[in-house]
Symmetry: C2
Subunit: 336 residues, 2 copies
Amino acid sequence: MAKSVTISVDALGGDHAPQVVLEGCAAALSQDPSLSVILCGPAEVVEPFAASHERCTAQVTTEVITMGEHPAQAVRKKKNSSLVVGCRLVKEGQAQGFFSAGSTGACLAAATLVIGRIKGVKRPCLTTVVPSPVRPVVMCDVGANADCKPEYLVQFARMGAIYAEKVIGLSDPQVALLNIGEEEEKGSEFAQACHALLREKEPNFVGNAEGRDILEANFDVFVTDGFTGNVALKTIEGTAGVLLKTIKGILGSSLKTKIGALCIKDGLMELKGTVSADTYGGAPLLGVKGACIVGHGSSNPTAIKNGILTSARIVREDVVGMISQAVSAQADKAGE
Amino acid sequence: MAKSVTISVDALGGDHAPQVVLEGCAAALSQDPSLSVILCGPAEVVEPFAASHERCTAQVTTEVITMGEHPAQAVRKKKNSSLVVGCRLVKEGQAQGFFSAGSTGACLAAATLVIGRIKGVKRPCLTTVVPSPVRPVVMCDVGANADCKPEYLVQFARMGAIYAEKVIGLSDPQVALLNIGEEEEKGSEFAQACHALLREKEPNFVGNAEGRDILEANFDVFVTDGFTGNVALKTIEGTAGVLLKTIKGILGSSLKTKIGALCIKDGLMELKGTVSADTYGGAPLLGVKGACIVGHGSSNPTAIKNGILTSARIVREDVVGMISQAVSAQADKAGE
C-alpha cells in the first residue's frame, strides 16, 4: 500500500471551478486509496462534498482571489482565501502538498510567501512536462522568474533532473540548456554564462539545445530562464493548437475527407490525448517546502485528478527532501 | 513591366549546393523577365550556367566558406569566396540584392561587414515570415542579435512593419512585443523597458503578445530580441515537424488509416505547403544597404527561387530607402 499523503486543494481555482475541481477530487480519491484531501473553499461548496466523500475534509474559507488582482498583494491581503489557506495547511504540516488551477501568478506568490522556499534555494521554478508525441520531457523554468542569474539555472537544472527522474521516470536524465545554437560559444551573454556554470556544476549537463529539440524530445530536461521557457511553452501550445484545428478543418471539408476522418479518428484522438497538458495535470513549483502544483486555468476533471495525484507522487518520492540535499551539496561544493 | 533588378547569388550556399541553387536561379529568371542574376561561385559551376541562361552573368570566385568556420573571421579572410564577393557586388552597386542559403552566421557577417548598415540603423535584424496556416505573419529579430537593447527593438519594429506592409502586403500592420503576458507590467525588466519605448516611439505598436499568438496570427509583426525570436522560431519548426511526422505515422499504421490517408491527402499536402518555409525562401536581413536574404540551409529549388524573387521585390518596393527614412525620422524625433 502506498504511503498516506494529504493534499490541500483550492476548490475555487480554475475557469470552471468549483464543479471540475470537485469532480477531479472525487476521481483522485477514488483512484488512490492512500490519498486524503483537504478541500478549501466556501462552506456551501466544500462541506457537502466532504460529507459525501471518504478521506476528504472541508476547510471553510471566506475570501476569493480573482484573476485580475495583483498576485502578491492579493495573497498578503486575503489571508482567508482558499489559495492562501491551502498553502498554510502545507506550511503547518496538515498537508504535504497543494493543488490549485487558479491564477498562476497568485499561486506562485502564495506558495513562495506562505509555504516558503527550501533552505538554500535561490528561486523556486515552475516546471512543466512537455507532452511530446515522441515522449514526455521536462522544461523549467516556464514562467516563475522572468529575470534570472546563471546560478538560478544551475538550481533549476538540478531540481528539474530530480523531478524528471523521480516523478516522470526518466532515469539519469540528460540536461540541456535551451539556447540558439549547439556550440558552447553560441547565444546571449547570459546563455554563455549559464552554459559555463552548468558545465561546471551540473553532473547531468550535456550542452545546448535549440527550440526544435523540445518537441523532438532530444534531451530529457530543458533548462532556461522563465521568460524564454514561457515563450517556448506557449509557442508549442499555440503551434499544436493551430495545426490540429487546421487538420480538423481539412477533415470536415468534403464528403471524401469526412470518410477519411472516420478511418483515422482513433489515431488522431490518441495524438490529441498525447499532446494534451492534462496528463500531468499542471506544473509543479519546485523549490518550495511542499509539493505544489499549479494547474492550467482551463483544466478539466482529468487534469485536476492528475494534478492532485502528481502532487501525491512528489510527496511519496520525497522530491522536497532530495532538492534540499542537492542544494546543500551544491552550496558545499561552492564553499558557500 | 516590372523594374529591372539585379541580384547576386551565392552558388555555394546550402546543404544541396550548387545543384538546387542553379535550379532555383533558372526558375527565378524564367518567372521574372525583369530579373538579372550574377551567379558567384567556381568557374566550372557558374560559367556553363551563365552561358546557357539569359540575364545571368558568371562571377568566378575561388574560395569557399564552410559551415564550421568562425563567421566574422572567415568573411575577413576569404575575400574571394562566393559569399563575400556576392555582398561586394551589392556594395559596389552592380547588384541591388544578395541571396545565399549558406551558413546564417557567415551571411550575417558578410552582409554587415561588406555591404554595411543603413545610416542610423543600430543593428540589422533577421526577419522571417512565419508560415502560419491562418495567414503569414512577420517576426524579427530571429537570431542576428542575441543581446539587444530596447532601442534596437524599436528599430526592429519599424523595419519589420515596413517589410510586412511592402513585401508581404499586410497593410497598416499591428506590431506586438513577444512577451509572457498581455499586461504592460508583465515580463522581464528588458521586456518592460522595450514595451515602454515601443509605446512611445512605434506608431503601430499595439501591446504584448505571447508565444501562442504567433501561429494563431493574432498580430502582424512580432518584435523580439534575437535570442527569444530564434528559440520561438525553432520551437514552431520543431513542433510542426513532430506533429506532421506523427500524423504521417498514424496514416500509415493500418489498412484502414491508409484508406483514410488517400481521402485527405490533398488537404494535408496543402497544409504541408502552407506551413513550409519555402514560400518566402528565406529571411531578409533588414537594416543593411541592400536586399539581403538568408535562405535555409535545407532549401529546395522552390525556396531558392522564392528567396531570389523576394529579394527582387524588396528592391522594387525600395525597402532600404524606406528604412533609411524611417530611421532618420525616429532619430529626429528623439533629438539625436
